[in-house]
């Protein structure tokens, strides 16, 4: 009986009888779905690694690991093939080094400016532009390198071949600039205001506050940004495939053209190389090398982050 107003009130806020059971079911369902989502990503990763390793094993049944790691010629499609990874590695490392030598200092400077100096209005204007750079398809960057930057560079560097590593390196640096900038800036802006004020209160200038206090405090995020940029540069494909040429060439000279690991994979998988041939298998071996490189970067990044992790 709902006699008193109090009873009525209590009845109004009493949950339905099956309320708890329903809630438990929804909870269980949610847990299953979330676990499935996590599992899919793990299985996909395992699958990729499995394919890479197993196909590479086929390759290494025919080619010795010693040759793969020590020879300096890469001619897997020739009649008398040679399988030394160094020419592809040198190309990959050279282009990435050029890209990072642009993206890291420039990204850090931009991040310092955006987080410590820029008035909110400027920041609001610059950020979308940077994000737009991020959204440009990489093939566009490739043609930009080949058609614009290379001719421009040729005007300054006589004898620069049409395919060279300098031009795609520079363009790739611009391409990954948004990553380094926006992640470093986020890390720097996350540094608490009290820490900055502590520096100012001691008489630090704005610049010294930025480089002596804010950057050290944000170093884990900044490192993560650079590692991500590194992985991105090493794995980048279109820009180099278009503008750096497709000839495996053991050189660290940016004025020459050279194929990178990714270029070679594109070349083989789009070409008429027969499936199951040794040339075809070779792309899995170099793919595995690429995977191990990015894995190494990520592990280094993880360790650095842990080493510098700070409790605010």
């Amino acid at each position: 009986m709902l006699n008193t107003p109090d009873d009525q009130l209590r009845a109004a806020v009493t949950p339905a009888p099956n309320f708890l059971r329903k809630r438990a079911m929804i909870d269980k369902l949610a847990r299953c779905i979330l676990f499935a989502a996590a599992a899919v990503s793990v299985f996909v990763t395992i699958g990729i690694v499995y394919i890479l390793v197993s196909e590479s094993l086929v390759f290494f049944e025919n080619v010795s690991l010693t040759e793969f790691l020590t020879s300096t010629t890469w001619t897997p499609l020739f009649a008398a093939p040679s399988f030394g990874i160094w020419p592809l590695l040198s190309g990959t490392l050279t282009v990435s080094a050029i890209a990072l030598s642009i993206a890291i200092p420039l990204g850090l400077l931009l991040a310092i400016y955006m987080s410590e100096y820029a008035p909110p209005k400027v920041r609001e204007a610059v950020k979308p532009v940077l994000e737009m750079l991020e959204g440009v398809p990489t093939i566009v960057y490739g043609y930009f390198a080949l058609m614009m930057v290379t001719p421009l560079l040729q005007a300054f560097i006589p004898g620069l071949p049409g395919f060279n590593m300098l031009s795609p390196g520079i363009v790739m640096g611009i391409m990954i600039l948004p990553y380094t900038t926006s992640l470093s800036e986020d890390a720097m802006r996350a540094v608490p205001r009290e820490l900055r004020e502590g520096a100012y209160a001691l008489g630090y200038s704005r610049f010294y506050t930025a480089i002596k206090v804010v950057i050290p405090a944000a170093i884990s995020g900044i490192t993560a940004a650079f590692i991500l940029a590194m992985s991105r540069a090493v794995g980048e494909t279109m820009v180099v495939a278009i503008a750096a040429g497709q000839m495996a060439n053991f050189t660290f000279n940016p004025m020459e053209g050279a194929a990178t690991i990714t270029t070679f994979i594109v070349q083989v998988s789009l070409g008429d190389v027969r499936h199951g041939s040794i040339g075809y298998q070779s792309i899995f071996a170099v793919g595995l090398v690429l995977f191990l490189m990015t894995l190494l970067f990520n592990v280094i990044g993880f360790m650095l982050r842990r080493r510098y992790r700070l409790a605010y």
């Binding site: 009290e194 004020e197 100012y200 209160a201 001691l202 008489g203 002596k212 405090a217 700070l310």
Partner: protein, 298 residues
Amino acid sequence: MTSFSKSIGMMKNVSTTAEPVATKRTHSAPPPASAGQEDTWLLEPEEELRARVSDLEFWYGDGTQAIQKLNMPLVDKRVTALIGPSGCGKSTFLRCLNRMHDLYKGVKYSGEITLMPENVNLIELDPMVVRLRVGMVFQKPNPFPKTIYENTIAGLRIRGIKKRAVLDEMAEKSLRQAALWDEVKDRLHQSALSLSGGQQQRLCIARALAVQPDILLLDEPTSALDPIATARIEDLLNELEGQVTILMVTHNMQQAARISNYTAYMYMGQLVEFNETDALFTRPKCQRTEDYISGRFG
């Protein structure tokens, strides 16, 4: 030490004629012209002053006036506490003294904060120069992500001091002053973030003391600490009496009573009463002060 502070030479040694120190106690303060409403009372201390605040007004960037016609002496080498209800402008006033507000846009000051004995108005100085002379300790400990040693001498480094011997000596001296030396002397080169909250706050005090500040500002320095750490900081502040000029904001009236020589009660951006701490807490001159300290409001 003295040669050190001289070598910094931030002030161009303005004048040798110090302002005559008021030796007479005026028992009724001249009420500020604008605040004709309720009573205010300002003690004229007999001791030497380190600074005098005259008709200070302050506006935030959005136009809010946070300080109104504030007059107050700051006695040399004594601890002065600022008390008052939340939002009364204590911290805002404190941050005027090292020009911290200048980090943010559109703020405006009027009036004077005269540093003595040089007789310079720090409102007219470059904020960075002011901060080289007026140190500050914040509510939450904010050590830099560096070693304990580097934190202690951070202010010296920024002043271009490079001599290892000077740095080592000052590090030890200020860590001792901050009653932290014995706890950290064996791990000076470990991260400051490995210290406990109370130790971090004492490190921040050491960092502020290392540069021999003219005035040390403390903005509720114990409000983020547990009672034991608080007691240690209070002991330390008692030790510093007679060595450093301290202005401290506190929410805790017992703390003000325990530590300070002088106390200022602020309300709604105005100074209501400034007196010797004992007098203010036992025989407040103003009704509003009495209401606040007896817990009738605020």
